[in-house]
Symmetry: C2
Subunit: 181 residues, 2 copies
């Protein structure tokens, strides 16, 4: 089973806190094992994401690395591949099947305000979820949905304290005790 991590570039706590939080929660819900934050440090954001993991289960971690290029370099050195999501890239529909089937671990890079030009050359793939402007959150979600071929609906999270019981109307939450019941 391939490992998928997400590298979030250029985080700015003042402007990006909610968007980056949505990036982290989307990464988790669609089966990534980790988000690596770069840009400015943001302990409060990381605590918020860790709190979701404590309640809703994992495994999922969020870490901070100032040196994003080192993250990319060591990922590639370890045999993984790097997919940069950008509206300028090749259509996801055309490239996802090849990316999915090669079995390599994936580092998915999503940009912030200004993505350094070097990211485009370091990435193994520059991929657009359409070539229209929208959101790193939606790009990540749809790319991972396509990468997993919809298997996000089958994911099980370990050590969850709560889970949703899906309903046609209203809300139902189940609390899970320490025995897993």
């Amino acid at each position: 089973m391939m490992d998928v991590k997400v590298l979030r570039l250029g985080h700015r706590p003042s402007r990006d806190a909610r968007i980056t939080t949505h990036v982290c929660l989307t990464a988790r819900a669609f089966g990534a094992s980790e988000v690596i934050l770069s840009g400015e440090e943001d302990p409060k954001l990381m605590e918020g994401v860790e709190d979701v993991v404590r309640r809703w289960g994992g495994p999922f971690s969020v870490v901070y690395r100032r040196n994003w290029q080192g993250v990319i370099d060591s990922w590639k050195k370890d045999g993984g591949e790097v997919i940069h999501l950008t509206m300028y890239g090749l259509p996801a529909r055309d490239v996802v099947p090849g990316i999915r089937d090669n079995g390599k671990d994936k580092l998915i890079v999503v940009g912030g305000a200004r993505v350094p030009g070097k990211v485009y050359s370091l990435a193994d793939y520059n991929v657009g979820v359409t070539n229209q402007p929208h959101s790193e959150v939606s790009s990540l979600a749809v790319f991972m949905h396509m990468l997993l071929d919809g298997a996000e609906f089958d994911l099980k999270f370990e050590d969850a304290r709560i889970e949703v019981i899906p309903q046609a109307r209203g809300k139902m939450l189940r609390e899970i005790d320490d025995d897993g019941d």
Copy 2:
């Protein structure tokens, strides 16, 4: 061809400006014809979205309606159906095929901070893009991707002034003059 619009509930300019902007741009990129904003008015946000439409094409509009319940009621009265995206709902994978194939116009409702309980009963479907917490932006994108069966990659936008020429590396933009060349 069915019409798809998005109703964004409970917008707060101070907190939600970027998330709601991403909701609007995602709606446009995935083929919705309009976003209806409710909550507090936010002319600056609407101008930003309209500027994207002027440059990247349409048709796409963003309007404000204080009375969200009136929007839902008249949509249903006109024969359309209402799909509320919520992590508490039935899995999208199970319900999207039926929603897609009935041919009715769709009003997709995405919540803000506090979704009134009434939304769950007014909606024809309460649908979860997984039953995990993540983002209204990612939920909207993946739901629309599934609803369109991936056809967002074929969408053409009218009267665009610029468009992306997809590249394996780097960025290429084409400016389009008044003759469409």
